[in-house]
Chain length 140, copies 4
């Protein structure tokens, strides 16, 4: 998908569906998280590496736009990219695709905190560099 | 809470928590839905009445802002109100409160469709009137 | 319900339903937990009191039998009682009812561990006494 | 894993974890379902093929035994096999493994119903043959 270099694969579970016969909207935020975790694994050594560095991150804001429903057993690609990193904050963009059709898009913003003090803390330079490199690459 | 006349009561379940020890962000969208369903029951005869009228509604957009974490067993109030109704579209606003502290806010927008044709359809006049009355009352 | 003195109230959420139009089976185990937490609050000072006493408990086994489906917006009673307490182990029984009809029943068994060492530990006497009293009462 | 010829791959999501830092017990029943769906896809043309044949199936009973906790980001194998098929009923067995360690096991029993009448109906011969073949093979 244009503008994205990375995607996680999601298969819609029966438990994800609701009585309208489509994937319930709350699942998209779980899928965003799955894509974010896999993105960080690919480009930044994994979310666990962040936690090992004494950093926790919290979701500050979540947004999703639902364009087309997803159904049971659909194979989806959840594209993810870093939109920006500034100090203790970073934002991810997402796009949910089924066979070339965009089903949804969205973004989440996050704050990094020191795991001990729970006070905002800058993201480590190695992380910023890793994800900036990934972002530049996807902007080509 | 100022500007809201209605709230659903939510108690944070252990299953809602995550390994950070707080309620996982995806749950807030389920709580928004619980509040929306109870709001429609109070002011518009219930979501089932809509379905009985041959109308289904779909979530078009979801947004949440997380200000303070919620914890296991917290008693929350999820305030909800209709923000606007225009043709086939309507929007709800939400505010999640614990003992006077705002933990989160958000909104969702929705589209009404004919349950048979799945084409956009105006909300019935009785629904618009009911929720407009509720909205005016809350704007006093 | 005969044999039960306690029940938690559950309202089936739209997010709980699946594409068969009924509440998904995995939700019953969340409802069992909700009933267990409320039971412990009523008879034993709450689950948090256990955690404050340095005790964590883990689910060792879960069982459910589904007799009739539950639907969106159903008001359910999830009856719960202590079946037995022996050393570090205890078991709860459950029965899910809608207007006098039994929809499901089940049980869960649990092990108590010291929160620091994670080794099995006897449940405190005050807890055993509290829940035994509750059990005797329900056996009348 | 001995006795099993098929396994689904599951990666523990952050949303699956709870405040004890482990995967919440209700998720195992979702994972069992994921394995069941993939098993039916492999050996019986998929769950959708059943639905296309006018058959719905309902979970009648679920059981799980939790031996060791699963953690965030764990890669699990959820082994699944048909235990038996008799008339309108069938049962699956499961075993959840992480790197050779059994974390949990369980089973689910199911009833097939005619999608229109919702009355119990025998599973089609082609399905019984497919899964019996799979079972025989795994019994070697």
């Amino acid at each position: 998908m244009e503008g994205f270099d990375f995607a996680a694969q999601i298969r819609v579970r029966f438990a994800d569906t609701d009585a309208q016969g489509v994937a319930h909207n709350s699942n998209y935020f779980v899928w965003f998280e799955v894509a974010r975790v896999e993105f960080l694994e690919r480009y930044a050594g994994g979310y666990q590496k962040l936690r090992d560095a004494g950093i926790e991150s919290f979701v500050l804001e979540s947004h999703a736009r639902f364009l087309q429903p997803a159904f049971f057993d659909d194979r989806l690609l959840v594209h993810a990219r870093i939109h920006s990193v500034r100090g203790a904050r970073f934002r991810f963009d997402y796009l949910v695709e089924r066979d070339g059709t965009v089903l949804a898009d969205g973004w989440t913003s996050h704050g990094a905190v020191d795991a001990t003090t729970l006070r905002p803390t800058r993201l480590p330079a190695w992380l910023v560099e890793s994800v900036t490199a990934a972002t530049s690459s996807s902007a080509r």
